[in-house]
């Protein structure tokens, strides 16, 4: 087991290296660079910068060098734990990302937990009451959950909350805690805000999970060990919860790895709509402004989180399924 984990951990740097190359060249793919976008914005606001100045700045930032040289400079800094400077904010990327990473992971974690809390009971109900009205109800809800884009759901729910209860659920904090240092009151304030974006992000995922859970469980309910259990004298409920549900969750655990990147990319638009202070809006801005070092660093952090998430889900699977554990 320990050697298995060690092996998986050793592959991480290699994966990151491959991802960093792909990310860097993808970000460079759109025509122009930060300076072109910058001058366009300046022109839009009435002021301007002449070409000479722009070219000077390009030399300053190293944007005039060939692409692979730029990559190696970025990589060289990364290896020293420095993610470079954001051209847009004129701040170190490490600080920009570091300030927001906590809330990003927290939001993803809450949505993840919520989606499982919704999906597993709903899936169990749907499978054990196959083709009943309740099953159809959840099916309809699921399809709606998959079909509605979550940013639209976010707008809808924000409007409903505001219209019905006068709740202003924009952002993750009330204005008075926004700049305040961390305290119990601030954590409470965070929890009172974070449930809505978590729920919105969870709904899309839980719809899929419910379908998977339902299908897995229906498979398991027909297995011969069910007859053994009934013939033992177990009550139907205890039987379903102990054996088939347990077995139906195993394949679900293996989907966690795929689910994590989905959570991050989903949170990008939702977070922008809801004005959440996580990495999402930062990435969107960095990409549209062609702030290449910032967007590259964020995407690399996403990759790292996804890799770690996949390893965690694989370890979880090993833990829950003795058949894998003993191989």
């Amino acid at each position: 087991m320990a050697s298995y984990i060690a092996k998986r951990l050793l592959v991480i740097p290699l994966l990151l290296l491959v991802f960093s190359i792909v990310i860097f060249f993808l970000i460079q793919a759109p025509p122009g660079d930060f300076m072109t976008t910058y001058s366009a914005i300046l022109a839009g606001s009435g002021s301007s910068m002449d070409n000479e100045q722009l070219n000077l700045m390009r030399v300053d930032y190293g944007l005039d060098k060939p692409m692979h040289i730029q990559y190696f400079r970025w990589m060289g800094k990364l290896l020293h734990g420095d993610m470079g400077l954001s051209l847009l904010y004129m701040l170190p990327n490490t600080k920009l990302i570091g300030d927001r990473i906590g809330l990003t992971v927290l939001l993803a974690f809450f949505s993840f937990i919520l989606s499982w809390l919704i999906a597993i009971p709903a899936g169990i109900f749907s499978a054990t009451h196959k083709n009943s009205i309740g099953d159809y109800f959840f099916t309809v809800i699921n399809y709606i959950g998959v079909a509605i884009p979550n940013f639209f759901l976010a707008l809808l729910l924000m409007w409903i909350c505001y219209d019905l209860w006068g709740l202003n659920l924009v952002g993750l904090f009330s204005p008075k805690y926004e700049m305040a240092p961390w305290s119990w009151a601030k954590i409470g304030d965070l929890l009172s805000h974070i449930w809505l974006p978590s729920l919105i992000l969870a709904l899309g995922g839980s719809a899929r999970l419910t379908r998977i859970m339902r299908a897995n469980l229906l498979d398991e309910l027909g297995k011969p060990y069910m007859i053994t259990g009934r013939a033992k004298g177990m009550s139907e409920w205890a039987l379903v919860m102990k054996y088939p549900v347990r077995l139906a969750i195993n394949p679900l655990v293996s989907t966690i790895g795929n689910y994590i990147p989905q959570l991050f990319s989903g949170s990008l638009v939702v977070a922008t709509v809801m004005n959440l202070q996580n990495i999402g809006p930062l990435l969107l801005q960095a990409l549209s402004m062609q702030d290449m070092y910032l967007s590259g660093s964020i995407l690399l952090v996403y990759c790292l989180l996804a890799i770690v998430g996949t390893i965690l889900s694989d370890m979880l699977l090993v833990w829950v399924d003795p058949r894998i554990r003993m191989e």
């Binding site: 297995k223 011969p224 060990y225 007859i227 053994t228 009934r230 013939a231 033992k232 004298g233 177990m234 009550s235 139907e236 102990k242 054996y243 347990r246 077995l247 195993n250 829950v320 399924d321 003795p322 058949r323 003993m326």
Partner: protein, 341 residues
């Protein structure tokens, strides 16, 4: 045997499956008695309703299957003259759950899949024990180890914590038998317990079942399509075809003096080790009708050499007494006395 009261009495039980395509009458009026300390064999081709009959006794017929008629009576442990009517019990109720595993235990058809692969066999056997005996977990574990030992499993203290897929087919079957006898039942239903294992192991398992039956004075309801196994195991045999009992009687009468044309044809089609002549093995002509369009009258008449037109294809024959404890459902014996109960 005649004056002895049966342990289990199945009376004219009918189990129908209502499907979109029509009704499948899987079990269509089956009656038999099982006595204490007896091995009763139920034999028939696949699809004849053997397994559904077994499930209806335990009341674990899966929907859309439903018991339409009939009774399953089980004598009470303390008052053998009084009977529990299992068919009248609530399928999910406490009463029937106390019977399952506690009074009537099952050795299921597929030893491969009868255990959950993510729980140890000990966990699953201990669970069965705790459902029927008033013991704590530690005592249940002791009983479980004893039970594993009594089915001839070596190193039971170690094997109790293994998973079913770590055991060989024979050991797995032994573990299942250990689970079945752990609740100290009076009747064991063995549903084709040796179909999935090789012949050598099969012989060991059959011997084990016989020994256990003798030691514990249990009854066994042995379901199989293997006539050889039946001859070896059973004292009394019930022959089924398409959801009905064709013939039933003591094992010697069934094998040496079969009365029903179906039983006769079935026995003719067994290859014999003694016969040296290279003649083609006789088979029963035709094939089993589709369950949706079961023939009217006697279900066997389309394949029967003695079928009487206008009779066998119109009416169901009654059960006629043709010997000591031997009954047959065939119009060829209608001059004999009808078995009324």
């Amino acid at each position: 045997m005649t004056d002895q009261k049966p342990l289990l009495s199945v009376r004219d039980i009918k189990v129908y499956f209502n499907l979109d395509e029509g009704t499948v009458k899987s079990v269509d009026g089956v009656s038999f008695d099982a006595y204490e300390g007896q091995v009763l064999g139920i034999v028939g081709e696949s699809g004849c309703g053997k397994s559904v009959t077994m499930k209806s006794i335990l009341r674990i017929v899966e929907p859309p299957g439903k018991i339409m008629e009939g009774q399953v009576l089980l004598s009470k442990r303390d008052h053998p003259d009084e009977y529990l009517d299992l068919t009248s019990m609530n399928e999910k109720g406490k009463e029937i759950r106390a019977v399952r595993g506690g009074e009537i235990a099952l050795i299921p058809q597929e030893p491969m899949a009868a255990f959950s692969p993510v729980h140890t066999i000990g966990n699953q056997i201990i669970e069965a024990i705790m459902l029927h005996c008033d013991v704590n977990k530690k005592e249940a574990r002791e009983i479980c180890i004893q039970s594993l030992k009594s089915v001839g499993m070596s190193m039971p203290e170690k094997r109790v914590d293994s998973y079913s897929w770590q055991l060989s087919g024979g050991l797995r079957q032994r573990a299942i038998i250990a689970m079945a006898i752990a609740g100290n039942p009076r009747l064991l239903i063995a549903d084709e317990p040796t179909t999935a294992i090789d012949v050598t192991t099969q012989a060991q398992i059959l011997k084990l079942l016989k020994d256990l039956q003798r030691e514990r004075g249990m009854s066994i309801l042995f379901i199989t399509h293997d006539l050889g196994v039946i001859a070896q195991m059973a004292q009394y045999v019930v022959v089924m075809y398409l959801g009905r009992v064709m013939e039933k009687g003591p094992v010697d009468s069934i094998f040496h003096d079969p009365k029903h044309p179906y039983t006769q044809a079935l026995l003719r089609s067994i290859p014999s080790a003694q016969k040296t002549t290279k003649i083609k093995l006789p088979t029963i002509s035709g094939s089993i009708p589709h369950p949706f369009n079961k023939p009217k009258g006697c279900p066997f008449h389309p394949r029967c050499a003695y079928a009487i037109k206008g009779k066998c294809n119109v009416n169901l024959p009654s059960e006629y007494i043709v010997g000591d404890q031997q009954y047959v459902s065939c119009f060829r014996y209608e001059k004999s006395e009808v078995n009324i109960r």
